[in-house]
């Protein structure tokens, strides 16, 4: 609990920004752009976003992410096919999520709290990348196929969330019969016993 009257400590986001800038920089180095241009695009995108976010720390200011995402798009579109570039493309996406979680407008420790959300995403990226790595002979087709499977899973998830009007925690609790236990007869509270009626 926070001290009385003191606002909760806010997240900084500097460490995660450095991490994101580093992974994006490595992707720029490995990518198809000239030697100096790749890292330049990466650092300009990451630092512009980081600076804009620190300057205007607002939850609604989503435009601050646009330079970083644009740099990621440019670098991945121009990157040459290879295990290392694929790995750093996935790592850049994950580092971006970690940086997003370190929100300066929210209490500190966003990255730690977001581990449960980012964990499945790390698994998915690792799965797709390892498929491409193991079947290295036909990297393009296998990588593309694996990614399409992941995209299919994402679309299925989207369908579940958007079509279903009842989220999972909204379902009624399971009855004792459904859990395999014997149901105890429950007496309604309003129903009086016969001797209560007589008195």
């Amino acid at each position: 609990m926070n001290a009385p009257g003191r606002p909760p400590a806010r997240g900084g986001g500097l460490l995660t920004l450095v991490l994101f800038a580093l992974t994006l920089g490595v992707l720029g180095l490995l990518g198809g752009l000239p030697f100096y241009l790749g890292p330049l695009v990466a650092e300009v995108g990451a630092l512009t976003s980081g600076f804009a976010r620190r300057r205007r720390p607002s939850r609604g200011a989503v435009w601050t992410f646009v330079p970083a995402l644009a740099a990621l798009t440019v670098l991945t579109a121009t990157a040459t096919i290879g295990a290392a570039t694929e790995l750093f493309a996935g790592l850049s996406g994950l580092a971006f999520l970690l940086w997003v979680a370190d929100d300066p407008t929210r209490p500190v420790g966003g990255g730690r709290r977001a581990v449960a959300t980012i964990g499945p995403v790390v698994l998915a990226v690792g799965l797709v990348w390892s498929i491409g790595l193991v079947y290295g002979g036909r990297t393009e087709q296998v990588g593309l196929g694996g990614a399409l499977i992941a995209a299919g899973l994402v679309l299925l998830g989207l369908l579940v969330v958007s079509v279903s009007r009842r989220p999972l925690d909204d379902l009624p609790p399971r009855s004792p019969e459904a859990r395999g236990r014997r149901a105890r007869p429950v007496r309604a509270e309003e129903e009086p016993f016969p001797w209560e009626l007589e008195s």
């Binding site: 009385p4 009257g5 606002p7 939850r59 798009t73 991945t76 977001a114 990348w129 593309l144 998830g157």
Partner: protein
């Protein structure tokens, strides 16, 4: 007050934020790029962007389903102290629950919202300052859970009572003692004599079945040997109907809301002070159609008036003035004094004053001025600002002087006093019926 909690289905639904839509947009773009360029590299970067919003939406905490609110608004004068606590089973996700309480129009934040969290409760405090007298029905704060990435959010339901803030000038107290036009079948300046429940002592009579105990004269009953009650002479100086104009104007929602808050404060303050003097008070609110509260007096009528005033909201469409006058004729007897609280100064055919006068009611118009609200809002130099304020004041005076031909008009520009209205009420001129 009724709780204004959202419906359960709406409250428990997880919604994506604009941040999630941005990520999905870029993720979709990267996927399309990957297919177009025949390269898997953009797809590897797209997977986190596409998958994270879905996982965030599915990870909404199951235990965080309800949070009940207990809060109040205290303070005196212009200061409002807001404090409250949300009770619920928040668990560790309490850090991700945000409380949002924006100040209503016409209220400035003197101390920002402070939130203290623990596993079972969220306590918050804020300080506001009123710019002018107002009656505010404060909407409860919104309580929203948002995932750590800020991609999915869900509002938390619960009992959330609304809180009202009543602030009006102390000078209202003096106005209630002023005599009003008498409202009887035979108009004149003679006081009506009606036997009622309060007023001056008139005489004794035998108690009837069901007589209230407080009216029994115990000494007289002991002397006569049977229950005897007091009778009182009820003096009525007149009846008053406060007409609250809730029609929209071209000044915009924010200024209209502030002017309406001011009008509501005036209406309730005046009604309360006149009710204290046994005057029968009615209330009519006119937006597109007329809603009327019949004439009555007493504490219950005060509660009725307060509730009706708190319900009054800015109407979407402005109704014509004739409709208001016809509606008033339907609910109130002619010659009842009408106090119109309206800031309408635009289309003259929509002015209530002449039509209400023509309906047979002596009417006074109390017009809250928007000029103090717009002071120093133009972004001009101080000298230009003074000149603009002077021009606006002259223009308003011209408009008000044109309204004076239909009846007495009070230009209310000093919000913390109603002495100009008291001066008009003291004059017999306002008793004239057109």
């Amino acid at each position: 007050m009724n709780a204004r909690a959202p419906t359960p289905s709406a409250a428990r639904r997880v919604a994506w934020t604009s941040r999630a839509f941005l990520l999905i947009g870029f993720g979709g773009g990267l996927t399309a790029l990957s297919v177009a360029l025949h390269t898997p590299v953009p797809l590897l970067a797209a997977i986190p962007l596409l998958l994270a919003p879905v996982v965030a939406g599915l990870r909404s905490p199951a235990g965080l389903s309800r949070a009940d609110l207990a809060w109040d608004a205290r303070g005196t004068g212009t200061e409002i102290e807001i404090s409250g606590a949300l009770q619920g089973d928040f668990g560790p996700s309490v850090v991700d629950v945000s409380v949002d309480l924006p100040p209503p129009p016409g209220v400035v934040e003197s101390r920002p919202l402070q939130v203290e969290t623990s596993r079972g409760s969220i306590r918050f405090r804020a300080g506001w300052r009123l710019s002018e007298p107002a009656i505010l029905a404060l909407d409860p704060p919104s309580v929203v859970w948002c995932d750590p990435l800020g991609l999915a959010e869900r509002s938390v339901e619960g009992d959330r009572p609304a809180v009202s803030v009543l602030r009006y000038p102390a000078t209202f107290q003096r106005i209630g003692t002023l005599p009003l036009v008498r409202t009887t079948a035979l108009p004149g300046d003679i006081r009506s004599r009606v036997l009622g429940e309060s007023g001056e002592f008139f005489g004794l009579r035998e108690a009837a079945p069901g007589e209230p105990r407080r009216r029994i004269n115990w000494r007289a009953s002991a002397r006569s040997g049977r229950p005897v009650v007091n009778d009182y002479l009820l003096d009525r100086t007149g009846d008053l109907v406060v007409v609250l104009d809730t029609r929209p104007t071209s000044r915009g929602v924010a200024v209209d809301e502030r002017l309406l808050g001011l009008a509501r404060a005036a209406a309730l303050g005046l009604a309360e002070t006149f009710l204290r003097n046994k005057v029968r008070i009615g209330l009519a609110t006119y937006g597109e159609f007329l809603e009327a509260l019949p004439l009555s007096t007493g504490r219950i009528q005060r509660v009725r008036i307060e509730q009706a005033i708190l319900r009054a909201r800015r109407a979407a469409v402005a109704g014509p003035a004739e409709r208001c006058a016809l509606g008033l004729r339907r609910y109130y007897r002619p010659a009842t004094t009408m106090l119109i609280v309206s800031s309408w100064t635009e289309d003259p055919t929509y002015n209530l004053l002449p039509y209400v006068q023509m309906g047979g009611f002596p009417a006074i118009l109390l017009s809250p001025s928007p000029l103090p609200m717009r002071a120093a809002a133009g972004g001009l130099e101080p000298a230009d600002e003074r000149l603009a304020a002077r021009l606006e004041r002259l223009q308003r005076r011209t408009v008000i002087s044109q309204l004076w031909k239909d009846g007495p008009v009070v230009d209310w520009d000093d919000y913390w006093t109603l002495d100009p209205l008291a001066r008009v009420l003291r004059r017999p001129a306002h008793r004239k019926v057109a």
